[in-house]
């Protein structure tokens, strides 16, 4: 073995060991073995039995006390050991070979890609459909073929539809729309919340309460809203409006599992809210506006698709804010907010005018009557007939 290599190979172990290795100390330390004298009760000798019982009781108590103290010492040592652990970890993390790319299961959630290639889609198993017997014939245009009795989704179709959906999400975000990410299957919570965070959107990982769109005045009346301007800064002076205004409706709904969200998609259709959905071979593609044919049962597949959509939303938000800095705003103030602003401003102007008028009256501006002729004053008070025309 080359000595140089030996150093590289074993240096890590040497460094990772605590500096003062207690290996030699082990020779000196002796394990204390507690021998408990088990007494056999002698029949007839009641006193001896009682004494033994008392002795074993005190022994047990002492054992318990010792155990408690030992545990306390162990607990007290934890922070010290932890600091040591962190220190050695830092010292040794540069040693050894470098793994350039590791597989981290949640990497796709933490750092989703901006676009999904066919390889990515295949690796995430987006092409796996359902058993052929469960298919919805409306999906035949997305199906590439069948293998082992399951349908294989055409990934060209998936990629194309995914790009279209991403474009939709990006533009809705750019135009200041409210996006809702829905995924309420088990395990979809981290995906949905992360994508909503990226896209500056809302998320739903629990059951959709039926009526949150069609009966929103009742169901969402407790939901808190805020008024923001084009740069997403919160505006003051809208407390009254926020108290009286109606709850908001999403402008786009992204649904990762349409099969379980019939009520939601139906409400969206009634309220003409466009929807994006992951359509597996057993789902009905007419439930959503923008279909993404893909496997919706695999968390990896769903995470990849949602990740691309989340990134698209993020891009849209960034573009919107960048344009707002330049003074370009592609969305209009909603009617109710606009009329509220008009009402408030008109009220303030009226009050100011009244105030000015009062000041004028009180602080001796000339009264109109002072500037009239005597005839005009009488005419003002009693009408034109009261003034003698000739005298």
């Amino acid at each position: 073995m080359i000595i140089r290599n030996f150093g590289v190979r074993h240096g890590r172990q040497v460094l990772s060991a605590p500096p003062s290795a207690p290996s030699c100390l082990r020779l000196f330390s002796t394990q204390t073995t507690t021998t408990t004298t088990t007494a056999t009760p002698v029949p007839g000798n009641q006193e001896a039995v009682e004494q033994l019982a008392a002795l074993s009781a005190t022994d047990a108590a002492r054992e318990a006390r010792l155990a408690g103290r030992r545990q306390q010492q162990e607990i007290a040592a934890i922070p010290r050991n932890f600091r040591k652990f962190i220190k050695y970890q830092k010292e040794t993390e540069k040693l050894g070979s470098e793994v350039e790319r590791r597989y981290l299961p949640d990497e796709i959630i933490r750092n989703p890609p901006h676009d999904a290639s066919l390889e990515d889609l295949l690796a995430a198993q987006c092409h796996m459909g359902h058993h052929v017997s469960r298919w919805n014939p409306a999906n035949s245009r997305y199906i590439y073929g069948e293998r082992s009795d399951i349908h294989i989704i055409s990934l060209e179709q998936t990629a194309a539809h995914l790009r279209r959906a991403a474009r939709v999400v990006e533009e809705v975000a750019y135009h200041g729309g409210l996006i809702l990410f829905v995924g309420n299957r088990k395990g979809q919570m981290p995906i949905v919340t992360r994508m909503a965070e990226l896209a500056g959107a809302c998320h739903l990982f629990q059951k959709w309460t039926p009526g949150c769109i069609t009966n929103k005045d009742v169901l969402l009346q407790g939901g808190q809203l805020k008024i923001v301007d084009e740069k997403d800064r919160e505006l003051e002076g809208f407390e009254e409006h926020l108290r009286d205004c109606r709850p908001v409706t999403p402008d786009l709904v992204v649904c990762l599992n349409p099969l379980e969200n019939y009520a939601l998609l139906r409400e969206c259709a009634l309220a003409t809210v466009p929807t994006v959905g992951v359509i597996d071979t057993d789902a009905d593609p007419s439930w959503v506006t923008y279909q993404i044919p893909a496997n919706d049962d695999s968390l990896r597949s769903v995470a990849l698709i949602a990740g691309v959509l989340g990134r698209a939303g993020e891009r849209g938000q960034q573009r919107r804010l960048a344009d707002a800095e330049q003074g370009v705003v592609k969305w209009q103030t909603p009617k109710d907010v606009f009329s509220f602003i008009g009402k408030v401003n008109a009220k303030i102007r009226r009050e100011a005018e009244e105030k000015q008028e009062n000041i004028q009256k009180e602080t001796g501006g000339l009264k109109p009557a002072d500037l009239m002729t005597e005839d005009e004053v009488i005419a003002e008070m009693f009408g034109q007939g009261a003034v003698p025309s000739k005298y």
């Binding site: 809302c202 959709w208 808190q224 008024i227 923001v228 009557a369 500037l371 003002e380």
Partner: protein, 392 residues
Amino acid sequence: MASIPTTRRGLAAAMRGAVRPRSLEQQFQALRLNAKGSRCLSTQSFQAAPEIDSVKLEGTIRARHARAVPVSPSYFSRTSRFNDSYLALDKLLRVYGNLPTIPANAVERVSWKTLDDFRHAVGEQVKATDYVKCLAIVKRLHQIHPKIKPAPVIQALNDFKRSVQAFSNETVKKTLDKYGRSLGSGRRKSSSARAWLVEGNGEVLVNGKTLADYFGRVHDRESAVWALHATGRMDKYNVWARVEGGGTTGQAEALTLAISRALMVHEPALKPALRRGNWLCHTRSKKGGEKEAWPREGEKETCVGQEIERFSGSIELSWVSHNGSSLGRVLPQFFSICKPDFCNNQTTNHRCDSRACSHGHSHNCTIQSHRGPPVYRTQRAQSVKEGRKRHL
């Protein structure tokens, strides 16, 4: 001819000032006329428009773009506040999940908010399953070693702690005073009692009178000292008690509680036995549908004596049973003048009060017919249930 103008002038003078005020525009128009009153605008001197008074128009909304957006990203879930805190905890667990923990038995005990408490706190109908998941994260984070626990974790956990932490309460250990007395207090109905217990030979003074003088009914006398009686401590302690309020039954049963509590200071080992006899709890009132958990005839016999034997081997046994066939020693100074207040006369098959009995039969029944003090077992459980219902 000459008088008319003067009249007119006088009238006009009187009318000046009474004229209806004109609009702001007219007033400004008037101001723009020159001082002579001629209708032509002066080109020589004029007053410029007043300054823009920004103070008066304060509060005007100048935003050109405004829209309403949800405060919480969980807006459409209807439990947005809960979801926000749940996600925050989840994030904390992801960040700080690798910090060392301490064993579960060494963790500081905390009473976490119940589902109802939490629902009240956030004002949302949080689902029980969701709250359980959330609380699991809370408990896991709480297990992080207290010296390493980061501040955000501590802050997040505070939202889930109850406002009153029962586990942090330290019980005040009652001790004997320098004269060897112990003090116990008890209440029942509207009576309250304080009893001082000192080692002695079985004398009892209630408000300065002997037990027999103070309580007319034998039942009450028995109730008052039942804790001593049942544990066989009748001849070992002297009692000096003050009782206030209520009637005789309430006072006697308040004394039961007071004496049993005072007895526990002398002999803490008696606690389980007294607890099983249910003489350590305050039973508030007798009103409102509650029932006495009184063992009726034919019901299973409760043997307090056996329990005492089980819990403290050194106790001298005094056998008590509610429909008791055998009772232990009863000291003469208590019951010498006592006759059983009820007698079950087999021949006449009636029950009567010994003091008012004129049936002619002898009242030399044994104490067998006496019963222990009433035990309201069901009341507490019932009130707890009702409380929960009200809370929901």
